[in-house]
C-alpha cells in the first residue's frame, strides 16, 4: 500500500470540493450521488487501481466503469487529480465544446472507459471488459460503480447472471447504497432490500461495508481481488450528499446544485478551501 488512510481521506475531501465547485459553476449536475461515491473513487484512483494517466490506453491498466454516470463530476475530479487532464478544465463541465460532458463519454475525456448515463448498462459493459481480459489471459481488474436506484433496472440482473456464469472473478462491482433516488427513498419507490441476499442468490461474493470508511474500502478491494471463481459485489452503505450538512440525505440534491454565493460558499466552507 502506497498511500496511508489519512492521505486518501484527504484526497476524497479534495474530490468533494471539486464536485461542489464544478457543479455550482455549471449550474446543473448531480452533486448528491457524486459526494456519496467520492471515498471509493479516491481509493480506486489513488491507491487500488493500476493505471497510468500519461498513457490512458495502456493495455495493462485496471478498468473502471461508472455505471451511475450522473456521478460524472466525481469521476472527472478523480481523473483530473490523477493527471489525465488539467484541473482547470473541471470548470468547463457541461459547457458547450467541453470534453467534460454531463455524463461520461468514451473517447471524449481521457481516462473515461465507457459511455454511460442511461442507468442500468454499466455492469454489462464491465462484464465485456472482464471477459476480454479473461479470454486473453490478462490479469487486470475491472471495477464498476453502480447506483442503488439503478438496480431497479433488469439489465443489471442479466449482467449479474452473466458474470457468474462466465466466472468473471476479476470483476468487482460496488453499489453506492445511499438509499435515495429522485423520488425519495428507494425502499418507498421500488424496494431493493434484501439487497445482499439478491446478489448472493445470483452467485456473487458479497462484502458489506461503510462506504465512507477508507480502511473498509481498501480491505474490500483487497479481498475481492483474491476471488478465484466468482465476481464480487461490495455493498457500500453511504450517505447521499456526504460531507455537506445541508445536502446529506436530502434527495433534492440528487439533481440540484448549490446556488452560487452563500449556499455554495457554506458547502465549500464545510469541505475546506481548495480552489480549482
Amino acid at each position: 500500500m502506497g498511500r496511508g488512510i489519512r492521505e486518501l481521506e484527504e484526497k476524497a475531501g479534495l474530490l468533494r470540493r471539486d464536485v461542489i465547485e464544478m457543479t455550482t459553476e455549471a449550474g446543473s449536475g448531480h452533486p448528491g450521488g457524486s459526494l456519496s461515491s467520492a471515498d471509493l473513487l479516491a481509493a480506486l484512483y489513488f491507491e487500488v487501481m493500476r493505471h497510468d494517466p500519461s498513457d490512458p490506453g495502456w493495455d495493462g491498466r485496471d478498468r473502471f466503469v461508472m455505471s451511475k454516470g450522473h456521478a460524472a463530476p466525481a469521476l472527472y475530479a478523480a481523473l483530473a487529480e490523477s493527471g489525465y487532464f488539467p484541473r482547470e478544465e473541471l470548470l468547463t463541465l457541461r459547457k458547450l465544446g467541453s470534453r467534460l460532458q454531463g455524463h461520461p463519454v468514451r473517447g471524449k475525456t481521457p481516462g473515461v472507459e465507457m459511455s454511460t448515463g442511461s442507468l442500468g448498462q454499466g455492469l454489462s459493459m464491465a462484464c465485456g471488459i472482464a471477459l476480454a481480459a479473461k479470454l486473453d489471459g490478462k490479469d487486470h481488474r475491472t471495477f464498476c460503480l453502480l447506483g442503488d436506484g439503478e438496480l431497479q433496472s433488469g439489465q443489471n440482473w442479466e449482467a449479474a447472471m452473466f458474470a457468474r456464469h462466465h466466472r468473471l472473478s476479476r470483476l468487482t462491482a460496488f453499489v453506492d447504497r445511499n438509499r435515495l433516488q429522485i423520488n425519495g427513498l428507494t425502499e418507498d419507490n421500488m424496494s431493493l432490500d434484501p439487497l445482499p441476499e439478491k446478489w448472493r442468490a445470483f452467485g456473487w461474493n458479497v462484502i458489506i461495508i461503510d462506504g465512507h470508511d477508507m480502511a473498509q474500502i481498501l480491505e474490500a478491494c483487497r479481498k475481492s481481488g483474491l476471488s478465484e471463481r466468482n465476481p464480487t459485489v461490495v455493498i457500500m452503505h453511504t450517505v447521499k450528499g456526504r460531507g455537506v450538512s445541508f445536502m446529506e440525505n436530502n434527495p433534492e440534491y440528487h439533481g440540484k446544485v448549490c446556488k452560487p454565493g452563500e449556499e455554495a460558499e457554506s458547502a465549500l466552507a464545510e469541505l475546506g478551501r481548495r480552489r480549482i
Binding site: 459511455s115 454489462s124 459493459m125 471488459i129 476480454a132 449482467a159 447472471m161
Partner: protein, 315 residues
C-alpha cells in the same frame, strides 16, 4: 433461380473468419437459428452465450469491443434491434465501437411465427442512429461477402438477414463494398431500387415490364446506410423516376432513405413497396408476401405509376 438461405452463408463466413483470434461471437439462445452455431463448432472458446438477455448482450459486446475485440452479436431482427435499441445507441453507436449486430428472421417472410417475430421496423430504427452502418444483403452469396466486409470494417454495423431461402441474384465470390450499390440490370425508363430479398422481385418485375416495352433499371441497395447516393443520382438522372422495394415498413426504411435523398437533390416521382404502417401475422411466407403487397406484380404496378407521374412521360 437457385434459392439459398442467407443465414447459412452468414454461419459459413463466421466459421471462415474464426482464424482471426480477435473475433468473438455472442449469442442470445438462437445460435442454431442464426447459424452463429457454425462459429461455435470451430472456436467454442470465443463463442459466448449471453442467454435470452439481449440488453446485456449488447453491453457485453461493447465492453469486449472496447478491449480490442471484433464482436458479432446475433439474434432475431426484432430482438437484436428493438429489445436493445437504447443499449445499442449508448454503448455501441455513440462511442463508435466495433460491434456487428447481425440479425436473421427479418421481415414478413418469417412466416408462421407471426407479428411478434416479424421485424418490419428494424431498418428504420437502426438507420436513425448516428455512426451506424446498415447492411441488407440481397442473397446468400452477398451475405457471405458482406460478413467478411463488415468484419474488416472498424465500427458499428447492423446487418439484416432473413429466415427463408431466397433466390440467388449475385455472383458467388464477388467482393462486397460497404456503401456501394450495384446495378444488376440497365434500363432507361424507371429505377427499381431493392434491398434484401426484394432485389430478386425487382429483377422479376423488370422482366415483366420488358414484356410490356418498359425498360427498367435495377439497383441492389445492399447498404441502406450510408446510401449510395451517387449510384442513385446517376440512375434517376437517367430514368427520371424510382420504385423502392423492401421487406420492411415504408416508414423509415429504404424507401424513406431514397425519398429523403431524391426529394432534396433530384426531385423525382418515387413509389414505395413495403408494408404499410401495419404489423404482420401468421401464415406461409409466400402467402404473406402476397397479402402484404411484396410481389413482383406490385413492383411492376408501382413502376407504371412512377413513370406516369414523370413530368415528361415515357418516350
Amino acid at each position: 433461380m437457385k434459392e439459398l438461405a442467407s443465414r447459412d452463408y452468414y454461419g459459413k463466413a463466421l466459421a471462415d473468419l474464426a482464424a482471426d483470434r480477435d473475433i468473438v461471437v455472442l449469442d442470445a439462445d438462437l445460435a442454431e437459428s442464426t447459424k452463429a452455431s457454425e462459429f461455435r463448432k470451430v472456436a467454442p472458446e470465443r463463442f459466448i452465450e449471453a442467454g435470452i438477455a439481449e440488453q446485456d448482450m449488447i453491453g457485453v459486446a461493447a465492453g469486449l469491443a472496447a478491449s480490442g475485440k471484433t464482436v458479432f452479436a446475433s439474434t432475431f431482427a426484432v430482438f437484436g434491434s428493438g429489445r436493445c435499441w437504447e443499449q445499442i445507441r449508448l454503448a455501441v453507436a455513440y462511442p463508435r465501437l466495433n460491434v456487428k449486430i447481425v440479425t436473421t428472421h427479418s421481415g414478413i417472410s418469417v412466416g408462421e411465427d407471426g407479428a411478434s417475430h416479424q421485424a418490419l421496423e428494424d431498418l428504420a430504427i437502426m438507420r436513425a442512429l448516428p455512426n451506424m452502418t446498415v447492411v441488407s444483403p440481397a442473397d446468400a452469396h452477398e451475405a457471405y461477402a458482406a460478413t467478411k466486409a463488415i468484419a474488416a470494417f472498424d465500427g458499428p454495423v447492423y446487418m439484416r438477414l432473413g429466415r427463408a431461402k431466397f433466390p440467388v441474384v449475385t455472383e458467388e465470390g464477388a467482393e462486397f463494398k460497404i456503401g456501394v450499390a450495384t446495378v444488376l440490370r440497365r434500363g432507361a425508363d424507371v429505377t427499381l431500387v431493392g434491398t434484401g430479398q426484394m432485389v430478386a422481385r425487382c429483377l422479376e418485375a423488370a422482366e415483366a415490364l420488358e414484356a410490356e416495352g418498359v425498360d427498367a433499371e435495377v439497383i441492389n441497395m445492399s447498404t441502406v446506410k450510408p446510401l449510395d447516393s451517387v449510384a442513385l443520382f446517376e440512375s434517376v438522372s437517367k430514368t427520371g423516376c424510382a420504385v423502392t422495394a423492401e421487406e420492411h415498413s415504408v416508414i423509415g426504411g429504404l424507401g424513406s432513405a431514397v425519398a429523403e435523398f431524391l426529394s432534396c437533390e433530384l426531385p423525382s416521382p418515387v413509389t414505395m413497396i413495403g408494408t404499410r404502417d401495419t404489423f404482420g401475422e401468421s401464415g406461409a411466407p409466400p402467402a404473406l408476401m402476397e397479402r402484404y403487397g411484396l410481389t413482383a406484380e406490385c413492383i411492376k404496378a408501382a413502376a407504371i405509376r412512377s413513370i406516369g407521374m414523370k413530368k415528361e412521360p415515357i418516350r
